[in-house]
Amino acid sequence: MKKNQFKLIALFALTMFVLHSCDEQAILKETPLDFYSPENSYTKPEHFDLAASYIYNICRNTFYNNDSKNGYSLMAGTDYMRDGRNDGSFSIGDYRLFVPTSSQALYWWQHLYEIISCSNIIIDRIQPVEYPTEKEKKAVIAEAVFFRGFCYRGLANIYGGVPLTVHEVKTVKLDFVRATRTETYQQSANDLKFAAENLPEKKDVKNIGRVNRTAAYHFLAEVYLSLGKNDSAIWAANKVLQDPNFSIMTQRFGTRVSPTSGSGYSTSAGNSYWDLFQMKNQNSPENKEAIWVVQIEPDDGRLGTGNYKPERIFGPVYYSMKDPKGVAGFIGPTTKNGGRGAAYLGPTDYFVNGLWTSDWDNDLRNLEPNMIRDYLYDNPASTYFGKKVSENPGYVYDTKYYFYPIMSKTSQRGDEPTFLYATPADQAIGLLNASASKTYHDWYYARVAETYLIRAEAYLAKDMKPEAANDINTVRARVNAKPVSSNDVTIDYILDERLRELAYEEPRMMTLGRLGKIYDRVRLYNSGTEGTTVAPRNNLFPIPYNEIERNTGAVLEQNPGYTN
């Protein structure tokens, strides 16, 4: 009997020994409890909606953001904008200092690749997920693919050829190599074309502000230009311009059609160009010009509002000017004068003067209320009260910091949210408090006016100058500008027209880089440090050294002319 007991015990012991060796992997499987992992967070359709939200968030925060001053580096240091403080903090400033270790070089690289990565994760992980219809699923994929194409287009425009990743990077990868610029554009074109074919129309998008097929065609047209496929570019642009749902806005529309008063500012002199930039008009169903709108909201305590301060960055510090007698000329920053500028970035002389000379008094874009060119002293204590600053330059007057023209689209002039006023009395006179600095109206990733200018480029490249002139004149006619004759259409004319139409909107470096015009135009039109220091190598941004250093498994070639 006892022996049996022993046997039992021995058996038991043996069992215990082997028991848990059976399913080691199951025992050691790690399941996170208090955080999400890709394995459980990319499994249902709603997950992909959240992942898309993130992309919209970071894409906005990359291009329209103040947290990183580098966000302005596609506008600053160009043919129309200079470093207002010569400290390089918001711009490239001195091109001799624009080197592979510069933060601007890293900023765009890092952020555009982050968006690409987020897109790839959606594209790869959505495959096994079930959707009600295949079409819906394809639209979600198309949205991610759109962003990938959008970012490769951006990378190719400013860096040239870059490494192409079209799948989620799931393990350590240290051996990226650059594709050619053509390959990069081609990847972008493929993505945008797929997106165009599978995205819904603008009226059918799930939420306001999400991409639609027209946006894809718009950017596809531009990428085709870069690939030299001008016919394709025209074809893609036509998809936008021939769509009855889209047109350039020639009639007044939106929130401020009837003259409003209050906050110390009212205008009845508005026009359809001006309406494009008034609060809430970008998302308005009336607005047929908007192709794709970046969503920015007043930071009234909500999260996800965005943080974009063109009013602060581009605006002059007029409110600190003293009258010729040394008395404070202004009661302070006011909404009627365009807010609380800090003159980090100012316009070049070319933008202030030369650009507009041919049509100074006709072009609505050069006139109030679109262009603020002068201020009236508004301090009742000043004997110059009500007089023009331009005619009575005061004590600290200069045209670099205190006094220069600014397009009113950079602010929400006359329409600031009430929380920017300290008191009702301040609100009555439009005096802003110290939190005023952001611009709360939405911005255009793309609008129809630009599509016309893209098609004009394509026609020009095909030497179809009348058609090119025609497109340009569509844009000009809306703002009462004289038409251009087809003989005068050159690529530089188109670039000038883009400036007049799209200044403060388009990431200018994208366009100049795409055309290899950074060096030419900056040297020619930027009379600041930028113009004297820019070199031919600057037609492409340097590949960030940080990235070259991290990429230990392969050599990432630097762009010509830069030394690591």
Partner: protein, 1110 residues
Amino acid sequence: MRGKFLIRMQIPLKLCKSFSKRALLLTIAYFTFVLTISAQEKKITIKQTNKQLSEILNEIESKSGYSFLVRSSDLNLKQIVSIDAKNLIITEILSILFKNKGINYEINGKNVSIYIPQKSIDKSDLQKESKNVFGTVTDEKGVPIIGASIIINGTTKGTITDVNGTFSLEVQSDSKIKISYIGYLSKEVAINNQDRLTITLIEDTKALEEVVVIGYGSMKKIDLTGAVTSANINAFKESPNVSIMQSLQGSVPGLNIGQVNEAGENPSFTIRGQNTFNAGNTGPLIVVDGIIYKGGMNDLNPSDVKSVDILKDASSASIYGSRAANGVILITTLSGEAKAGKPVITYSTSYSTQDPVNILRPLNREQWITRIKDAVWDKAYLAPDYITPNPNFNIESEWVAEEIKQGYVNGTDFNWLDAATQTGHTKNDFLSISGKNQGSTYYISLGITDQLGYIMNDKFKRYTGKINIENKINKWLNIGVQTNVNFGDYSGMTPTMGDIMRMSPLTSPYDQNGVLIRQPMGQNVPNPFQPTQINDLNTKMSLFGNLYADINIPFIKGLTYRINYSHNYRTADRFQTDPNASNYQGSASKYNESEYDWTLDNILTYNRTFNVDHKVLLTLVSGREESQFETTSASNSVFPNLDLGYNNLSVGSNPEVLSTAWDESSLYYMGRAHYSYKNKYLGTFTLRRDGFSGFSETKKFAIFPSAALAWIISEEKFMQNKPLTIEFLKLRASYGQTGNRTAGRYSTLAKVTAKTANGYIYGDDGNVTVGQNVTSISNSDLQWETTLGTNLGIDFSILKNRITGNIEYYNTNTSNILYNRNLPYASGFSTITYNIGQIHNQGMEFSINTINIKTNDFRWETTFNFSINRNKVISIVGKWNDANQDGIEDDQISNSLFIGEPLNAIYSYNITGIYQLGDPNIPAGYKPGQYIVTDLNEDGLITTADRSIIGYKDPNYRFSLANTFKYKNFSLFVFINSVQGGKNYYMALNDPSSWGGSTATTNSNAVAWDYWTPANPNAKYQQLFYPTPVANSRIQDRSFIRLQNVSLSYQFDNKILKKIGIQNLKLYVSGQNLYTLTNWEGWDPETGQGWGANGSPVLRSFTAGLDVSF
């Protein structure tokens, strides 16, 4: 000699060739004293024919309850005998059995010694007068020692003591007897016509027969092949230590234990050098009673601890595989086995008072006013020499706060420090009962610790309970349970020392009504006493239970199986109601935490000796472990009133909730083979396979091998005629691999973050949607850090064991050290934790114990410990990181990591002096009274480029010196501990400017340090008001020698005590941290706190206590 005891035990084995018999005899020999089931003159019946003598003896043993001890080497246990006896008592049966076989026997209590009388000796014996001597053998506490062996010198004749520790032996009156027992120093006693002897054996903690816990088993110290040290915990029993770790401070070379300065604080501890970048991952693995321990060291009552063994080298630690790279500390708690016979009740109590060793005193009114004038010397004194006071200087203009100006006028001189501090104390009460009943042993204890710190409200209370019970169910099965309960109360918020020290003496904390002033110094500086108004509940509880069974598997002799099934449940609660938070609108919070671990270990042990010479100890382990953790916290702020406080959080207006959870599991298999040949050549080989849920998908298992060899030279023939002075000499060499699981759970997984802050508002005036993204890349290659270590050791005992000791040298290379490696951004991620760094460590330790004086009444023992360690960063992220292209990997200055240099280098400015008034060489931007900083790159500017390595934080070497003096019943223990820096090690930056820096003139108070003024040009530190641009810290040497423990105890005479029913009574007084010799300035060199405001003093304590057992 190592003692005849061992040899004697092995004698019968030589005779026996059958494995089973040999094992039986071994059992008999080893456990004679164990099998003592009551059988007073029991009559037994036995009938056997033609059986081996040993089998018959075995049967008699089991039937009678007597135990046999074979004492003669030539006694043949295999001889075939027969017996037929009915209802006879033991003596009758033995007479029949041994008839005509030349075997004699002696009965002592329940022990029967059998032997063959040796004729030659017997002959001479006959010529002398022989007599019967009765004796009692006890330990120092008077507890009887059972099974002690008594041998007549020059013979093999002897006996062993019975359950009462007594023996009787027939001896010649002029002979000597030798008494020996495992773990005690052998003693020789001359009979000298005495009839009764009382022999007290002194515990020999250094004895080589000592059994050492080695993880999943134990081993005799003599058989060790790796660097394993048993700590001498008894030496520090008289100190008021809350944690067992404090008791080990300085006592084990290579075990580095930090100083504590708060009530209930756990000291930090490491073994040997740092072999990872993150200093948070340097803690050794703690194993308590065989189970990996995750609770706090404070959850164990030091009084419950029986032994602490430390596995220092890679070969011995590798049995714990991926967690052993920082060494292993094995703690064994007391059990009933150690005591015996009737229940022993022990009560000990102690009371300590605690005061700072060194306290920095804030300035009083007069000093503070002087200091302000010193700060603004250029205003308060007149040019050019700034020594004559400026009559136009108005000190009030220097103050911003109205409150201070008022205090100046009122003549206020308040001592904030005195108001915020007190004499601390520690009260310890401990009661235990242990014993052995039939087949079960038990140990039950209850401990209460009550500590009051130096700073007001610094309190700690602990209740511990322990029950260890083992039941011998039958011959082959033991079942036991080990439990531990701990309740710790850390409640009460203390003021922050820095806040107290900064308060101006011209202000006071209370108004006329005794109510705390919210901002006594104005300027939004809250009253430092406010934390004491927080209703703070801070408790921790832990429950531990280990159920185990030991089974002697019968078919294979020497094979035992043990199963451990342990559970540990810990909770922590932190509830607070703070009336002053949220702009005095109040806040309250509740935090609950619980962790539950369970462990299942299967341990097979095979312990056999073959043909006397071949000793084999095989251990196989398979185990599984799991931990689950969760927290919930809820808080609210802005309360209409705080009457309900944290008990009703819903009343507030800003509720916040948070919860976290994790779990992790481990699987492991371990095999260890130990082999010893002729007690001369020893080898241990282990292999552990460790699986951990936190390892990456592709590397769930790690394998850790090790090998160790040892050679006991003193056993060699050529050493037999060795110089008389060398009794023991062993050489050891080992090589092994261990791991460090620094990566931790979930670190290999990709993480997804989903939150509204990352979302987007579609359209106008809408609400945000959640944005989700993958925030970290999964790392399928992430694994443990690997340490490969060599250890060379020498153990020796010379001059008749008067000098014993050991020397260790080790050399370890750690690779795969975790470091955040940068990834190309093109991957979408910027960093990943990667196994990449390399560190090299080497060091030496030695420990020497000498018995300086040894007389009957007086004994003086000294232990000297020494350790030294050097480490070096070999690589951080890899050779590719070489921006300056010099072929050597670049340093990571921001993380203070330098290739080829030790970890913890101090990279700072070299200060060579102070600029004086009128000094013509003061560079632009510098002022008189500021530091002269070396312009290393000679570019005329002091920039970050002028930093260099100016010293190292790690110690150069450590030593300690323990002296024990015993005179009759008095015992005096004196312990000196020291950490030394030598030329540039054990340095730290000392920066007095942390006292509000340039605001020195406005509000902040300070202490008196040697700052520069025109009147004090030779000061050590810069002037007060204008800190030196860039460099503010002076580097200083932390070296110290500390008289850490002195204790004096008196052990009452057992004979007298017995009469009043007391077994043992000891009274003692002790002092801790009595005197410190150091050049370090500020709070304390060992804590490394200098002139900083927010320091805390190390406490000096005086203790009186008593231990009594019944």
